[in-house]
Symmetry: C2
Subunit: 199 residues, 2 copies
Amino acid sequence: MPTKTFFNLKKDKRQRVEKALMHEFGKGSFEQASITNIVNEAKIPRGSFYQYFVDKKDAVTYLIQKFILLEHQKIHEALVENNGDIFETALRIYDYRTKETILNFDIGLAKNILEELRRNNVNIFENRDILEKEESLKKYINKDNMKINSEEDLYYFIRILTAIVRSVTMEVFSERISKEEGRKMLEKELEIIKKGIEK
Amino acid sequence: MPTKTFFNLKKDKRQRVEKALMHEFGKGSFEQASITNIVNEAKIPRGSFYQYFVDKKDAVTYLIQKFILLEHQKIHEALVENNGDIFETALRIYDYRTKETILNFDIGLAKNILEELRRNNVNIFENRDILEKEESLKKYINKDNMKINSEEDLYYFIRILTAIVRSVTMEVFSERISKEEGRKMLEKELEIIKKGIEK
DNA sequence: TCCTTTTGTGACGCTTTGTCATTTATTGTC
DNA sequence: GACAATAAATGACAAAGCGTCACAAAAGGA
């Protein structure tokens, strides 16, 4: 997390830094991002960057946390609007993630963030950082039409959905498939999960 | 892919280079790997590295291709031994991936390779590079006890399995869960896929 | 006003990458 | 074996990036 110095910054300066971070981290991969570019764009001296953030990773973490919180709200909305239907919600998550702008995050940045979350297998329904501040989303899930008999079942089921939505989202991001193709694939995959495989 | 110069190298030298590559790329992430370390370990001058490989990525690609081919063979074996049972095979893939040594690749290196394959959503049943040289594994899958009515269904089903096995494998690699916990989780997840969710 | 604490600043040391001009080895031909 | 042509080896070098540090400026408090 950024230092307290960063949060004490005047609004104008902090926003300049934030904007530069979002821009640079969205351009290529996180590894490729250059601190030199960030300080140039934000018009702050190099030393200041290290006064605000421990290192590059620290700055990334800050953006990721922001993203997770916004996404949590978004999923909450989707769940409520769809009366707790988790399959519809999964599609809604896919839809907004593959939009041009995700929660006001540039698409390139969102892609990198989601990749990072995937790498660390962060599950928005279980994430600890969120659960400290926000309530769990699980209770909004309507289990009436599902063969879910325990908290454990639900846990594993959410893991499966998370893996699948992520997988197809990343494929769209990497431009191997279009947004529309991806959605159709996701629909088919959800259908298989619904019906099961065993004869 | 490496240059022809690399393949023309005397066995001893080529093996020295390969060993150094595998060691360095297994130490940390691919991005962290240092070419300086590789050339030092392999006892070749810096310039030679760039005579053999276009760049760092090229060297990585070489290792990944080697890995994919070996894994393809391994899955083939597993499928045949289990009479085409894809669920058992999924568990077998999990098992050998979470072993101490994977196909003679150091565990750190295997982790990085699998992460890369995941990022690019490489599916060993569909991979183009393999299909040029080897036959598809799909035909070995026994569909008798499964609600799979078309090639398309099978395709999506394999996508789901791939996503799930990868997800849990990466969690074991990142040491959030143990090998044994991971296996139990995978078993539960496979069970859900078998039975379906819909009441 | 004077002292203390916080923030700003950019030159610098260090490391790494990929290039390139030059040297050395290998191969083929007569 | 001699010579030319092709292939491979070599390491010094330019360019670029990271994080540090000593010092300067600003802000806060008494």
